[in-house]
């Protein structure tokens, strides 16, 4: 499996966010997207899943399911955690598992993997920012999808949770997945290549 982008450009609000961007990520590889604030890291991830319109260029996925779009084979972890405060931790996760297409799912392995298993019956309103982040990371584990697009996944996570996330990402890569992570700091993957945005000045 190989996700490749050729000559991507993105315009938002009458401004060129980035242009002439090309890269490729193969199965088992991670790409750390770096750059100053406003360089278009989030816009790039949102462009890949179709939430921002592609102004120019071509995105293609070789070796994926030809019936599905890239967005349907990708997990997107955005800035917001997509959680409902009035639902419990378990209900939130079960909803996303069901919505993303899991038939019958046991959410406990995913909750254990992010260290939230004891809180399954707690309303999500009572979670801290880091716990909310971990719960939305658990979403990626309930339904298996090859592409992970992570927008600053380590923000709000403490040191041990960052380590845990690095472990989950390594397991995903070892299982033939690929990762694009927008980040400022280290994401804890030694093998990650870097894609630096912001060289193109608008």
């Amino acid at each position: 499996m190989r996700l490749s982008a050729v000559d991507l450009a993105c315009h938002r609000g009458g401004r060129d966010v980035f242009a002439g961007l090309s890269f490729a990520v193969a199965a088992g590889e991670a790409l750390a997207v770096t750059g100053r604030n406003g360089a278009g890291k989030s816009s790039l991830l949102r462009t890949i899943v179709g939430l921002v319109r592609l102004a120019q260029g071509k995105l293609s996925l070789e070796g994926g399911d030809p019936e599905l779009t890239i967005a349907e084979q990708a997990h997107y972890l955005g800035h917001q955690d997509a959680l409902k405060p009035s639902l419990t931790v378990g209900e939130n996760l079960r909803f996303w598992a069901g919505f993303l297409g899991a038939r019958a799912v046991d959410i406990h392995p995913a909750l254990t993997a992010v260290g939230l298993d004891e809180l399954a019956d707690l309303p999500a309103a009572y979670l801290s920012a880091g716990q909310r982040r971990r719960l939305s990371i658990a979403r990626l584990l309930t339904v298996k999808r090859p592409i992970w697009l992570l927008d600053e996944p380590t923000s709000t996570l403490d040191a041990s949770a960052q380590e845990r996330l690095a472990g989950l990402m390594q397991a995903h890569l070892a299982g033939g997945g690929l990762i694009l992570a927008a980040t400022h700091g280290a994401i804890g993957l030694d093998t990650a290549r870097e894609l630096r945005l912001g060289e193109v000045d608008s």
Partner: protein, 220 residues
């Protein structure tokens, strides 16, 4: 669980939890209708005459009450991004959210209407026609409201805009709903009721498509 069933279950759960819109809609409906006899005074023939219109107006306002959060909440917490990415057609997701909203807001109004109708001196035949027209007409109010909810999704004070956009669109439903519910008026029941059914069927189709188009446009 299929994606649409998951949405239906989640939205209904949220609506009945603390802070959800389900109970508030019914309470608002009851309060508004209860105020009318105090304002109009104990004039029983007059109450009987304006009763169906009052109940319909109150139902209209109550169905709009929680509607502005329908997509705005999903937009603010990022759920809408994942919904837009999903394989489930957006039109069907929107229609499912509309169904969940009607089941938790519209249906309780239909059930509460005969009780509160007693306050407005409605007799048994008037109660039955009222419940029938509300049962058929409230889905139209919700599904027309979906359009406004989708247009107002990115706005902070979307509720006001929602009312301004949606209320004019609901005029035909209101006219034929009240005409069918009015047993003392000159019109027979069948004609306006049939048109009300047609309006509901049309809004069930147009509402989700228009709302989905608005959401796609705004997410750009």
């Amino acid at each position: 669980m299929t994606p649409l069933a998951a949405i239906l279950v989640r939205d209904m759960r949220i609506a009945v939890r603390v802070g959800g819109g389900a109970l508030i809609g019914v309470l608002f409906f009851l309060v508004v209708v209860t105020l009318i006899p105090f304002a109009v005074g104990p004039n029983l023939p007059l109450l009987k005459q304006i009763g169906p219109a009052i109940l319909w107006l109150a139902a209209l306002l109550a169905s709009l009450l929680a509607l502005d959060r329908l997509f705005a909440a999903d937009h603010e917490d990022g759920s809408l991004d994942l919904i837009l990415m999903s394989r489930a057609p957006l039109e069907l997701v929107v229609a499912t959210k509309g169904l969940a909203h009607w089941l938790t807001t519209g249906l309780p109004l239909v059930i509460a209407a005969p009780l509160i109708g007693l306050l407005l001196n409605l007799d048994a035949p008037a109660e039955i026609t009222l419940v029938l027209t509300l049962l058929v007409g409230t889905p139209a109010l919700t599904f027309i409201g979906l359009i406004g909810a989708a247009i107002a999704v990115t706005l902070r004070r979307g509720g006001l805009l929602l009312a301004v956009i949606v209320l004019p669109l609901t005029v035909p439903v209101l006219i034929f709903g009240v005409a069918a519910a009015n047993t003392v008026g000159p019109l027979p029941f069948g004609t306006p009721f049939t048109i009300l059914c047609a309006l509901t069927l049309a809004s069930l189709v147009i509402g989700p498509f228009a709302a989905a188009a608005a959401l796609r446009q705004e997410m750009e």
